[in-house]
């Protein structure tokens, strides 16, 4: 990857649904190997933005490249170079651990040998060797989450998108999961992660906070806190989210900030 090693580059990226502007001219970069926190309240436009970046949704305006490929015109190349994991983990519960890995390996055109090697390596690293032929439905949630993450990385993507990967998981497992994220980033894979846990936001190299379809703040956690005079990301988040007129009205009808 050339051009200053940018993993994601969005310029004035916009998506409208009818008259509703879900994502409103957002511009941001994510550098290769960075852990980028993509924050925002529900309905702020995060999901729409991610859907455009993963090639699922065509932008209405602006442009974006992921791993050097244009999301609007080179969707196929974008899809080959990204991994994706949602809060629902995307594993088939009635398939075994090994069968899930094999399925996704096949989908990404890995050879039978590659699949076998990577399966062994992955199962060994996760400590799941004894559970390879267990149905996913019967392994604990924490393991399922790590497995889903590893499966999303199976084809060694340049960028991986994690959509609320830790929701509903206990704090210890969350901590362990973040260690996996750091390992992945250290190995050169760019990680874009969305979360509603503000302590997790502090772990990111840089964050952006979306409010009403726009990026209201962007930068390293320490820098944005300083910029807005907030003590924590949590405080900053609430402060910014209140600016959203749609959100502020019903909660505090008597005054607008």
């Amino acid at each position: 990857m050339t051009a200053g090693a940018l993993a994601i580059e969005a310029k004035e990226l916009t998506r409208t649904f009818g008259t509703f502007v879900a994502v409103d001219r957002i511009t941001f970069d994510v550098r290769a190997g960075e852990v980028f926190g993509f924050l925002g309240a529900n309905g702020a436009g995060k999901t729409t933005a991610i859907r455009m970046l993963t090639g699922l949704l065509a932008p209405s305006g602006g442009r974006a490249t992921v791993a050097g490929h244009d999301v609007a015109t080179q969707t196929e190349a974008v899809k080959r170079n990204i991994g994706y994991m949602s809060q629902r983990f995307s594993l088939y519960e009635d398939l075994t651990v090994a069968e899930n890995i094999r399925l996704y390996g096949g989908i990404y055109d890995l050879s039978a040998r590659e699949i076998r090697e990577r399966t062994d390596r992955m199962i060994g690293r996760l400590g799941l060797a004894h559970a390879a032929s267990t149905y996913v439905r019967s392994i604990p949630l924490g393991w399922r989450q790590k497995l889903a993450f590893s499966v999303a990385l199976l084809h060694e993507p340049r960028v991986v998108f994690l959509d609320e990967p830790t929701s509903g998981v206990d704090p210890i497992t969350r901590r362990q999961f973040w260690e996996l994220i750091y390992e992945t980033a250290a190995a050169g894979t760019t990680v874009l992660v969305t979360t509603h846990y503000m302590d997790e936001a502090e772990y990111c190299d840089r964050i952006s906070i979306m409010v009403a379809g726009r990026i209201a703040a962007i930068g390293a956690p320490a820098d944005v806190k300083r910029e807005f005079g907030a003590d924590s990301i949590d405080e900053l988040f609430v402060q910014l989210a209140r600016r959203d007129p749609a959100r502020a009205k019903p909660a505090t009808p008597e005054r607008t900030p």
Partner: protein
């Protein structure tokens, strides 16, 4: 290609591991064959009637007028020779034929036996026997009226004799089971292709796995084919079982080509599948998808395809509605192949309608799939 094979294998695992659903899919039709074999009743009007009148005279014309005057019949053809009936029956232009022997009026006048043959298409057995009953009544009433006239004319009273012969075409023993098996095939194929596709696609939506497939380099058509092909296999097994069972228990014949029947079945499956995909792309929960598939595909197949209720005896607005029910066309095709033994030459119109539906729905459903899910 290997990606697609992987998808197919995964879907086969889903089916194999969900034993209960698989059992329902295979055995429900088997049980239904038996249930429906004993339980279907129907009624008729507007029987399409042909008259074979080699030498028209005042008596045959009088009888023709009587047939034309009742609500039960609609005169669709008058031909001079019996040979011409074959084609009319096979095309379905005609459901019943009245064949007069030459010199009909003359023989009546001379007190000789005058012969009439009633031929009835019994593919729909209840319709067939009812139609035969109506025809007998019309002719016997005519005979009685003649006798009454002659008695008043001459006190002696010549002996008027009309000799009736009846014959059932295609299904001489008039067994209802012959009729419902094609309908049941349509029903099974609808359940498996439309209902199961809709449910299993929305299940993947619910569990988030569809999202994972969509962000992968897989093309939408690969996802759909991977989803659909394994269910197709189950559907074929089920249909073959029904044909076999129908033959063993109810002696339902398969007079036409099995290959043509399965090929037409495939076309019908394609239509149902597209409906299933269309439904699942517009719903997000398995429950809603199931309701949609039941109301949108299963009910029309049961009620409006001629499977249970003959289309001829429906009110006109409903008859018009049946035209958009794909099962109606498939039932007609399957009945003709199984019971009349006809080939594509006679069925190309129905086949064309079904093919047209398949094209329209496939385009609509892939478009809807890529727009709404992707």
């Amino acid at each position: 290609m290997s990606a697609l094979l992987g998808l197919l294998r995964k879907e086969a695992y889903h089916i194999r591991r969900d034993r209960r659903t698989l059992a329902v899919l295979i055995f429900m039709p088997v049980v239904q064959v038996i249930l429906f074999g004993f339980a279907i009743r129907t009624d008729v009007e507007n029987v399409r009637l042909a008259i074979v009148d080699p030498a028209p005279d005042h008596a045959t014309l009088a009888l023709r007028n009587r047939f034309a005057a009742t609500d039960n019949f609609r005169l669709t053809a008058v031909v001079p020779r019996v040979e011409e009936l074959e084609g009319l029956f096979q095309r379905g232009t005609v459901q019943q034929a009245i064949v007069f022997a030459p010199g009909f009026a003359d023989r009546i006048a001379r007190g000789l036996p005058a012969r009439v043959l009633i031929i009835t298409d019994a593919t729909e057995p209840n319709t067939g026997s009812a139609a035969q009953g109506y025809a007998l009544t019309v002719i016997q009433t005519y005979e009685r009226d003649l006798i009454a006239q002659q008695k008043t004319a001459s006190a002696a009273g010549a002996n008027v004799r009309i000799v009736l012969a009846v014959r059932m075409r295609f299904n001489p023993t008039r067994e209802s089971s012959n009729l419902f098996v094609p309908g049941l095939m349509a029903f099974i194929l609808t359940v498996i292709s439309a209902l199961m596709t809709a449910i299993s696609l929305t299940r993947e939506k619910e569990t988030g796995t569809l999202e994972a497939l969509l962000v992968s380099p897989l093309k939408p058509w690969q996802i759909i084919v991977g989803k659909v092909l394994p269910y197709l296999a189950v559907g074929f097994v089920s249909v073959l079982l029904v044909i076999l069972e129908a033959r063993l228990i109810f002696d339902v014949p398969l007079r036409g080509s099995l290959f043509l029947l399965l090929a037409e079945g495939l076309l019908f499956i394609l239509v149902s599948l597209s409906l299933g995909i269309l439904i699942s792309s517009r719903t997000s929960s398995q429950r809603v998808a199931m309701m949609g598939a039941m109301i949108g595909t299963m009910l029309p197949t049961m009620l409006l395809s001629g499977f249970i209720f003959p289309i001829e005896s429906m009110p006109l607005p409903l008859q018009i509605v049946t035209n958009v029910v794909p099962a109606r066309w498939f039932v007609e095709i399957a009945r003709s192949i199984m019971l009349k033994g006809v080939g594509l030459a006679y069925l190309w119109q129905e086949t064309l309608v079904l093919a047209g539906m398949a094209v329209v729905l496939l385009v609509a459903s892939t478009r809807s799939f890529s727009e709404r899910l992707a």
